[in-house]
């Protein structure tokens, strides 16, 4: 009798195994490839945080945490947003989606209307756009940087600039050049009017985050764990600093010093003048975010739900212990008028507001 059961089960066991495999594959997929999720892309002005995360771009009041509007009005499976929106003082809101579209939005009641769209990108928009001098510069995973007219969305350059690999970082501008770091290991300086390459430097490994522009230098952290300081005019390497692990989040600069952390969770302070190290400290976990600076403190968000405040001068802890939130804190913390804004990934609370003095926290916004 036992073997009759085994016999009949044998084929059923095969089917069952395959069905389980299907569900496992399916669940793996939804967690990574299908959902294609990443951390929230966030910008803030004096009143609102603009959060691109999943199916919506939302404007959230910094004071009350109330949602002012969201776009699109209804969730669409084909549309999702993770690139930090670009905002300016004139009220322009530009956001790129994983649906390859670039949207210019205008708040309209509880949602936002579309002023224009650009559909020329062949791949997702992962890096945040930049608004400068009436032009919006949009990096795309299709390797191209598009320059669009801010009012109409029409291309400004005859041809978009094309790198050798995807563009995941946001472009920067210093008046004379547009700078963009690519996953092809290069940093490019472009002519803002034409998109022509003025100079480029091969750093040997990918730069995934937006470089930091300070004191005539461009600070770029690489996957190889090297922080490069490049001359903004020529691209020549002024100095390098070797960290213990890959550098994802680029430095925050203040008072002649740069502050950053590597992926293994070590925070550094280096002198911008020559790259010499001032101090280094262990953080509670892996770190991908650029730190925030307020007053005499530098704030690091770690993947392990912790926010750490260090004194800029010596790296000593500014709070008795790190603030513990929820979720993965991989996005950059932002200094706002209401405190330290901390976006959280894979958390019920999407936005935390942390008191920069005490480390006390409250959930600012929780998606329904």
């Amino acid at each position: 009798m036992t073997f009759i059961k085994v016999l009949s089960r044998n084929k059923w066991a095969t089917l069952l195994t395959l069905v389980i495999a299907g569900f496992v594959l399916s669940s793996c997929s939804s967690a990574s490839a299908l959902a294609a999720s990443s951390w929230p892309g966030v910008r803030a002005d004096s009143e609102n945080a603009y959060v691109a995360y999943g199916p919506f771009v939302r404007a959230i009041s910094l004071r009350t945490g109330e949602e002012q509007w969201h776009f699109p009005a209804e969730a669409d499976r084909a549309v999702s947003f993770y690139a930090p929106p670009a905002i300016d003082e004139e009220g322009h809101i530009i956001v790129g989606g994983y649906d390859k579209q670039v949207y210019s939005l205008s708040p309209d009641g509880l949602s936002a209307s579309i002023t224009w769209t650009f559909d020329g990108s062949q791949d997702r928009i992962i890096g945040g756009p930049l608004i400068a001098d009436g032009t919006v510069y949009v990096p795309s995973a299709d390797r191209k940087l598009y320059a669009l007219d801010l009012e109409t969305g029409q291309p400004v350059w005859a041809q978009p600039f094309e790198a050798g690999h995807s563009l995941w970082s946001a472009p920067l501008m210093n008046g004379t050049h547009i700078y963009i770091a690519a996953l092809d290991h290069h940093v490019y300086a472009l002519n803002p009017q034409t998109g022509a390459v003025e100079w480029s430097v091969d750093l040997g490994s990918a730069v995934s985050d937006t470089p930091t522009l300070t004191d005539g230098l461009l600070l770029c952290g690489t996957f190889e764990g090297v922080l490069y300081a490049l001359d903004t005019e020529t691209g020549s390497i002024a100095w390098t600093f070797e960290a213990s692990d890959a550098i994802w989040g680029n430095p925050a600069a203040e008072g002649g010093n740069a502050f950053f952390a590597d992926v293994s969770g070590i925070a550094y302070s280096v002198a911008i003048a020559d790259g010499s190290m001032n101090w280094k400290r262990d953080l509670p976990g892996p770190t991908s975010a650029t730190p925030a600076i307020l007053g005499d403190r530098v704030y690091f968000a770690s993947e392990t739900s912790a926010v750490t405040a260090l004194v800029m001068d010596n790296g000593d802890p500014a709070w008795p212990s790190s603030a513990t939130l929820t979720g993965r804190l991989l996005a950059d913390p932002i200094v706002t008028s209401e405190g330290l804004l901390i976006p959280a990934m894979e958390s019920e609370c999407e936005l935390y507001m942390v008191d920069p003095d005490t480390g006390g926290s409250r959930c600012l916004f929780q998606a329904q």
Binding site: M1, T2, F3, I4, V6, L7, S8, N10, K11, W12, A13, T14, L15, T17, L18, V19, A21, G22, V24, L25, S26, C28, S29, S32, A33, L34, A36, S37, S38, W39, Y82, D123, I126, H165, S166, W168, L183, H185, G204, S205, A206, S208, T222, F223, E224, G225, A246, W248, V263, P286, S288, L330, M345
Partner: protein, 254 residues
Amino acid sequence: MWNTFILEPMINALILIYQFLGQNFGLSILLFTALVRLITLPLTYQQMRSTMVMSEIQGSDRYKKMQEKYKNDKQKLSEEQMKLFREFGYNPFSGCLGLIIQFPIIIGLYQAIIRAMAATPAQLFDLSKHIYNFIPTGLIPLNSQFLYMNLGQPERLSLSFLPFEIPVLTILVVISTYLQTKLTTPASPDSQGSQMTQMMGIYMPLLLGYFAYTLASGLALYFVASNLLGIVQGLVMRRVRESNAGAKPQISKG
């Protein structure tokens, strides 16, 4: 445990193959799939052999007569079946065991390909934590361009003279999955088994076809490669069994 012993070795092996093949991720997936199938060949062989032997036994006159004769005496039927299995060297557990041992390897391979493609910043950040120190950091992120496809995106072939796009890999996945399912689950004589075979023949191609249509094309490439290798393996085994059939005991004798 899973990451240390299954996932990370697979991810790093995949990246090393990528480096060896001139940073072509499409070829890396094909070669890696072939290597994994080669390593698991003894298990697959055992499973397929078991399925074929069982199918032959169930299709034999002796088995059918036995079912009829002892339909009211399950104990006796079980004993007679055991005798028959012993004659043909069939172990009812061997097929299951092979499949169960293969299962984590298949899932690991699938996850390794997904992780290595790292199509978003969060995925790339996660990948960076799984890479061994001796892997050159310059290789990351991998170049996902292969032929006309971006392996991190669902595949569609766009032809200038057609107003629509063709999901070529999806079509290949559905066809190759159907063929492989047909080949590895031979028709069963009893109605229960036949129903199950039919279900598998429909369910698996549609499920994998849906994955191929909606997910990164690197996965679809893996499905196609894995299916084609499975089909070749099944055909070879069937041919070998047919050529050796004369040397086996005759099942039909009563």
